[in-house]
Symmetry: D3
Subunit: 235 residues, 6 copies
């Protein structure tokens, strides 16, 4: 099985980090095909960045579509998910959705810790759409730019730790979802440190994609995600 | 006052029709600056089309940003609204949001009648986000491609009529929102025919934009729509 | 065009202040017809006050109904709105609803700052009904009686400022809605002071009424707001 | 114990019918004090009727306040409930709220059958406010004026039966709430006929009032329903 | 009339305390039949305890079913309610549901104060199901084991007082619901001390059961709570 | 890795069928440990059946707890899930929750088709709790007893087909979730027949459990699912 793991921003070091995390959990027969959207902004920290990344994201996925079984979009804003579900047949898995589904299974109440303040609203809107807001106590920003996770990881991790502590003590969080693909390498250490589940969306999304392929499940092609150009003509 | 009325698709005849509708209601001192996103698909009938249109939509608005007071995005999927609120200072008005706000004022319960079946989910997701789903009885598709409103208007209008009838008789709709900018020219006749408010989002959005400018109100630049590149650096 | 701006309480100085605010934004051809409900309590600070004001409010509006195009009810509790929609044909605009719709367009999250503590529940119930609770972070009381806005404006304004500050710093509000018609004259100064949109419901409601009339839109007379005495007789 | 049972409309025959129903279930020591709001419309079939009835309703209750232990408002629109909770110390019980609470206890899903179509929206808004909309499948109008329950009872009852049948067969209702105080005398027969609970709000509200008095419970006088004239003065 | 008051845990002293509270409010003709589930855990402080108690709870109620008119389940987690509604014909009343319904009538906003932290989630899930979460500000744990209410009542009551104070001052609670049947004897004193309604679920549930029997109302046997073994066989 | 797959009813043929389905998708290194709750009812078709099954379900899982890595509860009512999360350390996966999470990923709107009518309410309550009700169009009963899936499979499958057809044509379902563990062997054929995803909860739950173990994720032991006997003692 081949799973396309696409990083919607153009920072190749992040793609490499994400791919490492994915390969660490992938089953023996699963090939992780990592791709960077080279035409996208270096990081996605706003709705504008997301808008600028989308067309390239679609092209990147389409260029692999014939040879992959499922797609994982490795940006916590879950950009382009519905468009990709229209365009491809295999499952399209979103890391925020997958991670918050897992948090709902492992705890009664959880919080998300993300990077920039602006992402709080994007994530909150997505959770409302998914229905996963019901068990989410808070979406907290660690006030760090996304690329600090590449270039200034120690200080960035310190800020993330501070927000996890607040989420646990002030909000009552029983599990934490890390709200950025670039945090993928931090989850295991933070889990040990805080003694609660700290969930990275990349690995759980890759496993969800793998599971769906194993079960023979693909995106519904009836209705919302039907193949394009199928609208009936007026008589 | 200058209001940018941007058509996110590349069909110039639709831009012209929309601009006519807007100018018919604009106040004497209001100049409607109509713009077409020439790099976009001919119509926006899917999340993929929307994804392809966004970057050009941002460029188009930015190219006018210094000389306009407010922006109206004339596509019922309300594409790029949050990104444009990040990028510009004047109000950014969305035609679905504006029309459904008006429907909530004029009736206790309303329905939306749109073009392609795929739009139903996009609109439903937007209404949930806006909170305007509470009084919305149904989002109905007239099963027509967007461009049929340009090229086969008579048969398209017939299908729209049929859905309005169903919305009134089966769902109990007390007002109708027309779910496509390309229907702008149909609203008045349909209002007379069905004797209930039939609301075109273009004209109410233009008036909303004009009202906000008159009241001196602009997009909040604190928090979610703050100017870009303001994320704090880690120590 | 003639817009009836009705103050549901009997304090004429408040009516004058509201009418000034309305006239400052009205279009050249718009006449603001200001009316005071002389039989009502001096201020509306409770559900009981509202109950005492309603019959006079209906009479006041009915006495102008033949000569006006739209009605704006200038009390933030939005009293009598549904009854007036039953009784008149032109649009009936509510200042809380209009202001919170605008706040939803200009920000991702906003707060309301009102006068008496008792109003918090009234406003919260209305926002739930409108669906506008989704983006509303908090409804805060400045702990001032309504008439302090007429007689002790400086100290009242100071308390309002304190609550705006809390809404921004503690709740994360990106815009503020002023929760009393009597605050109409404060909005512009507070906007400048706090550098975020501070929205007065009176002016945005007047512009909404004007816009609806310009677009030829009136209250739906099918269903909930149908003319009275139309219930079918049993066989 | 003395329970005030107030009919907010001015039709004395309805008051008598309601009082009979109440006395049939009251405990031996409970005196039912029935009152008619003589200044109100003959029936409450609209928000306008409700607005016209409120001031007299408050006066009627206040005139008994010193000598009664609790108040039941016997109109299914639950008019004036919050105002009365401000004005009196004993519990104020609303028949729609009480009946739908009972329906939630006796069934997993229920429907309301009311009189005029216009009441559907009033009841739906109340249920949303109470949270009791979650288990309510439908609010159905029997398309009868309220006073038909006094003057043309046989044909009115036939229409009510038809709607109960639809609620059961089409909506899956497991219990029915009768949505008008004037239907109080029909509940028992309809229960037998349809073999599901058919709930009249008057009797369950009277028993709720009686229960609260027995338990020594009164309306909270802290916050929303605090005694009036308690707003703090600005410094 | 005979009302079965069943304590789902096996602590007889708690049953006695609950029965005393019930008898203090029961009408002259009402016999309170108190029962202890002797096979259950000594207290129900977790979902596991609840799971262990259920089978015995059903047996206990069934052993009385022929001779009682209604059942009250005296544990604030409302265990087994739906199962008992399937198994018996008389009304089955739940103390959390009954108490929170009453709190909704007596106040605009209330809080629940319960025993162990783990109960917070159980109660929150139940309130969501009932729709009674809308007016509930907070569910607070006094951090006491259930049996401390039997063996260390003074210190337990002190902790409960502290949480009531927080609920009032920090959350704005206007009424308090005591979230454990074992607190039944504390309600009246706490009401006097805090001068707001402090509601014990046992007494209001007993009165609700009594009221339903008096009104001739029983559990719906159509649909969800139909008698068992009625599923149709496939052809 | 060892995954406990527990069938909460006592029908061994169903356990065997479920285990076959699970083993067909399990990874090479995963051992499926299938267990039947021998003390439970033969099928779980009501809340009473569920109540009777719980204690044995807990015992069965506890007897394997030391030797397994995760637990899957193979009954679509998701019985005992919270209790098992309290009692064990490894992930506890529920088949309804897992299947509806997958349906949310593969479609914009889905329906559930279950066995007995009584299960509709159980499933609806669970979906509300999970937040997964937002995209669920309908929960439909095929009007078959659970054991008909063992003994009269052909006619049972015919009824399931009829409901899938209705869900697609009347409700607009884009994917189907099979609402009973006993339908595990039907999913693939029904997917082919209806050309949309038909999801069996058993296989997706097993893959979810496997994924969580691979990612090193376990149930949060902070807060709601903390180990038992940890409530603090009063001073």
């Amino acid at each position: 099985m081949r799973i396309l793991l696409v990083n919607p921003n153009s920072t190749a070091s992040m793609t490499a980090k994400i791919a490492d995390a994915a390969r660490a959990v992938a089953a023996p027969g699963t090939e992780i095909v990592a791709a960077t959207v080279t035409t996208a902004p270096a990081s996605i920290e706003s709705r504008s960045d997301e808008s600028r990344a989308l067309s390239g994201l679609l092209d990147t996925v389409l260029s692999h579509a014939d040879t992959i079984d499922a797609t994982v979009v490795a940006c916590f804003d879950d950009p382009g998910i519905s468009a990709l579900r229209e365009l491809t047949y295999g499952p399209v898995v979103a890391i925020c959705e997958a991670a918050c589904q897992v948090a709902s299974v492992l705890s009664a109440r959880y919080s998300v810790v993300t990077t920039v303040p602006r992402a709080v609203n994007v994530i909150s809107e997505n959770l409302l759409q998914y229905g996963l807001d019901r068990k989410c106590l808070s979406v907290r920003s660690a006030q760090i730019p996304v690329l600090a996770l590449e270039t200034a990881e120690a200080s960035a991790a310190e800020r993330i730790r501070a927000e996890i502590r607040c989420a646990m003590e002030e909000d009552g969080a029983e599990a934490i979802v890390l709200g950025c693909a670039g945090m993928a390498n931090l989850a295991i250490d933070l889990s040990h440190e805080f003694q609660i589940p700290v969930i990275d969306g990349v690995v759980v999304a890759v496993k969800q994609a793998e599971s769906l392929v194993t079960c023979g499940l693909t995106t519904s092609k009836s209705g919302t995600f039907a193949p394009l150009q199928n609208a009936p003509l007026p008589a």
